[in-house]
C-alpha cells in the first residue's frame, strides 16, 4: 500500500444567493508521496478550495462529490470524529496568514503543543520538551524564549517558522501549505523556502504547496499543477513546466512575471457561477480555435506531462 493521495472526479461547489459557485470541476489526479507538489493559478482558480477539501475544512455551504482516497480510506466519507484523528496527525494544514493563524492571547508554546497533547495524550512536561525540541528543529536560536513568547513578539519570518513547527509537531505524512510567502520580503521569503526544504528532510513528509509565487514553486516543487477555474490545465514535473510551458495559460502566467515579459494576460478570470462552454480558458486564449468554444478537451499526455488543450490533441 502506498501513501499517495488519490483524487477521483472531485467536484466542489458552493450554494450562494447568487447561484451555485463551481469552484472545482472534475479533478482526477494523484499527489505522489515523498514529493512537493505545487498548485499554481490565479486567485479564484480553486487552489485553496481543492487543498482544503482534502481535510474537509470547507465552509458549511460547500458540496463535495467524488472521492479522495488515502490508504484505501475515502476521506470524504469519514465522520467528523474519525477525521479529527487524521487532521494534524496524518495530514496537517499550514494556513495562509501567519499573522492571523495564531491566537494572539496564547503563547507560541501553548499553541504548538496543543495538537500534540490532543492526539498523543501526553503530560504537560512531555509536551513542553517536545515543543522546545520542535522549535530547535526550525532553527530558533533561543527556543525556550520563543516558546514563552506571544505571536506579536516574533517577526514575520519567525512566525511562519513557528507555524510550520506547530503544524508538524506530530510528524504528519502529508502537509498542506497555503500561500506561505504571500506579502513577505525577499529575505524572509528565502527563509521560508528553506523551511520547506528542511521540512521535507526533518519530517520526511510529502507536501502540497498552494501558491501563486511562481519563483517559489519553480525552486522547491517536484511536480506542478496549473489550475484555472477549478480545472487542471497542465500537470507535470516543475522543471519542464517552467522551462517549456505547453498550455497557453501557463505561458501567460510565466510571461506575466516581472523578470520575464511583465505581459498581463488579457481579460479576467470567468465567473465561477456561469462558466464558459468548451475549454474554460477560451475567452482569454490567443490561440483559440472553433472547437475550443464548443467542447472541453481532455487531459492529454505530451512530452511526459499532461495538458488540457486542443492544440496538442
Amino acid at each position: 500500500m502506498d501513501n499517495n493521495v488519490y483524487l477521483k472526479d472531485v467536484t466542489i461547489s458552493f450554494k450562494t444567493k447568487a447561484g451555485t459557485v463551481h469552484a472545482v470541476n472534475h479533478v482526477d489526479m494523484t499527489f505522489n508521496s515523498g514529493e512537493i507538489t505545487g498548485m499554481i493559478g490565479e486567485t479564484g482558480s480553486g487552489k485553496s478550495v481543492l487543498g482544503m477539501s482534502v481535510l474537509r475544512l470547507l465552509a458549511a455551504n460547500s458540496l463535495i462529490t467524488g472521492s479522495i482516497i488515502y490508504k484505501n480510506i475515502d476521506l470524504l466519507q469519514l465522520t467528523e470524529k474519525e477525521l479529527n484523528q487524521i487532521r494534524g496527525k496524518i495530514i496537517s494544514f499550514i494556513p495562509q496568514n501567519p499573522d492571523a493563524a495564531f491566537d494572539p492571547t496564547m503563547t507560541i508554546g501553548k499553541q504548538i503543543i496543543e495538537g500534540y497533547r490532543y492526539h498523543d495524550k501526553k503530560t504537560k512536561t512531555a509536551g513542553i520538551s517536545h515543543g522546545i525540541g520542535q522549535l530547535q528543529n526550525y532553527s530558533f536560536h533561543e527556543p525556550q524564549k520563543t516558546f514563552n513568547s506571544y505571536p506579536f513578539q516574533l517577526s514575520g519570518g519567525m512566525r511562519q517558522r513557528a507555524l510550520c513547527a506547530m503544524s508538524t509537531t506530530l510528524s504528519p505524512e502529508w502537509i498542506l501549505a497555503d500561500e506561505p510567502t504571500k506579502g513577505l520580503d525577499a529575505i524572509i521569503r528565502q527563509e521560508v523556502s528553506q523551511v520547506f526544504q528542511d521540512l521535507k528532510k526533518i519530517t520526511n513528509s510529502s507536501i502540497i504547496l498552494i501558491t501563486h509565487d511562481l519563483r517559489l514553486a519553480q525552486r522547491i516543487c517536484d511536480t506542478v499543477l496549473v489550475l484555472y477555474a477549478g480545472t487542471v490545465l497542465e500537470q507535470g514535473p516543475a522543471g519542464k513546466i517552467f522551462d517549456e510551458p505547453l498550455h497557453p495559460y501557463t505561458c501567460g502566467l510565466i510571461d506575466a512575471q516581472p523578470h520575464k515579459k511583465l505581459l498581463p494576460l488579457s481579460g479576467m478570470p470567468p465567473s465561477l457561477i456561469d462558466l464558459p462552454t468548451g475549454c474554460k480558458f477560451h475567452p482569454r486564449c490567443s490561440c483559440r480555435k472553433d472547437i475550443c468554444c464548443l467542447t472541453e478537451p481532455a487531459l492529454q499526455e505530451v512530452n511526459g506531462r499532461w495538458v488540457r488543450c486542443w492544440k496538442y490533441a
Partner: protein, 254 residues
C-alpha cells in the same frame, strides 16, 4: 519635482515614550518630473515612513522638503490642503483603502468634491474617461468594494487618484497583495498613466523584479538610511554597497 534633504523621523512608544525608534535617519533624495524613483529595502527599513514623510502625511523632525519649487516642510495641514491633490499616495491593500459602505461611484467622487475641482457633469465625464483608462467599465459604479476583485479595486484606486491630476504619487507596495497576472495589469496601467499625465512616482517595494521593471533610478534603504542610489541599470550591474549585493543575490538567485 520633489527634493528632500536631510529628513529624520523618530517614533516614541512605550510607557512615557521611553522606547525611541529612529525610523528615518538623515535621508536626502530627489525625483525629477515624469520619472520614477524606486525605493527598496526589507520590512521595517523605513521605506513606508519615508514615503509618508515626503507627502507630509506625518510631520518630520528635521529636514527640508521642496515640492515643485515651494518649500513645504513648515506647512500646516491647512496649507497642505491646496497642494494635497497634487501629491497623493496609493496603498498596498486596495481592500482596506476603500470605504466598504460606499459604492465605487461615491468613492471615486469623494476626493474630487473635497478639492472642489469641477461640476457634476464634468466629473461624470472624467470618471468615465479614467475608468476606461484603467480598463474598467462604468457598470462598476453602483457596486460596493466587496463585489470586486483585488486587481479591480486597485485599478479603482488608481482611477480615483488620476481624477485629481496629481504631479507626484507615492506607490506603497501597490502590487504585493496581487497575483502575477494582475500585477502585470496594474503596472501597465501605472506606466501608461505616467506617460499620459507626466506624473512622478516614488515606487516603494521589496520586490526587486518589480522595481527593476518600473524605475528610472533606485534607492536602497537599510535601517532608516538610503545607503545607495543609482540608475536602475547600474544598480543591477554594479552595486556599490555590500548590503545591496547581498540583497540582489538573495533575490535574483531565488
Amino acid at each position: 519635482m520633489l527634493n528632500v534633504s536631510n529628513i529624520s523621523k523618530e517614533f516614541k512608544s512605550g510607557l512615557f515614550g521611553r522606547t525611541h525608534t529612529l525610523a528615518v535617519n538623515n535621508v536626502s533624495f530627489s525625483i525629477k518630473a515624469g520619472q520614477t524613483l524606486g525605493l527598496v529595502g526589507m520590512s521595517g527599513s523605513g521605506k513606508s515612513t519615508l514615503g509618508r514623510l515626503a507627502l507630509k502625511l506625518i510631520p518630520c523632525d528635521t529636514g527640508r522638503i521642496i515640492f515643485n519649487g515651494i518649500e513645504i516642510s513648515h506647512y500646516t495641514m491647512k496649507q497642505m490642503k491646496k497642494l494635497r491633490k497634487e501629491m497623493q499616495i496609493l496603498f498596498q491593500n486596495p481592500e482596506s483603502s476603500l470605504n466598504p459602505r460606499m459604492t465605487i461611484g461615491k468613492s471615486l467622487e469623494e476626493p474630487y468634491r473635497f478639492h472642489d475641482i469641477g461640476d457634476k457633469e464634468y466629473l461624470d465625464e472624467q470618471i468615465e474617461e479614467q475608468l476606461q483608462f484603467v480598463g474598467l467599465g462604468t457598470e462598476l459604479l453602483n457596486r460596493r468594494p466587496y463585489q470586486l476583485s483585488g486587481g479591480q479595486l486597485q485599478r479603482v484606486c488608481i482611477a480615483r487618484l488620476l481624477l485629481l491630476r496629481p504631479k507626484l504619487l507615492v506607490l506603497d507596495e501597490p502590487t504585493s497583495m496581487l497575483d502575477v497576472s494582475v500585477q502585470a495589469q496594474v503596472i501597465e496601467v501605472l506606466k501608461n498613466a505616467q506617460k499620459k499625465q507626466g506624473i512622478s512616482y516614488l515606487f516603494i517595494s521589496h520586490d526587486l523584479d518589480v522595481i527593476k521593471a518600473c524605475s528610472d533610478e533606485i534607492a536602497v534603504m537599510y535601517k532608516g538610511r538610503i545607503i545607495e542610489q543609482q540608475t536602475a541599470e547600474d544598480l543591477y550591474k554594479q552595486p556599490k554597497e555590500e548590503y545591496t549585493k547581498q540583497l540582489l543575490d538573495t533575490f535574483l538567485n531565488f
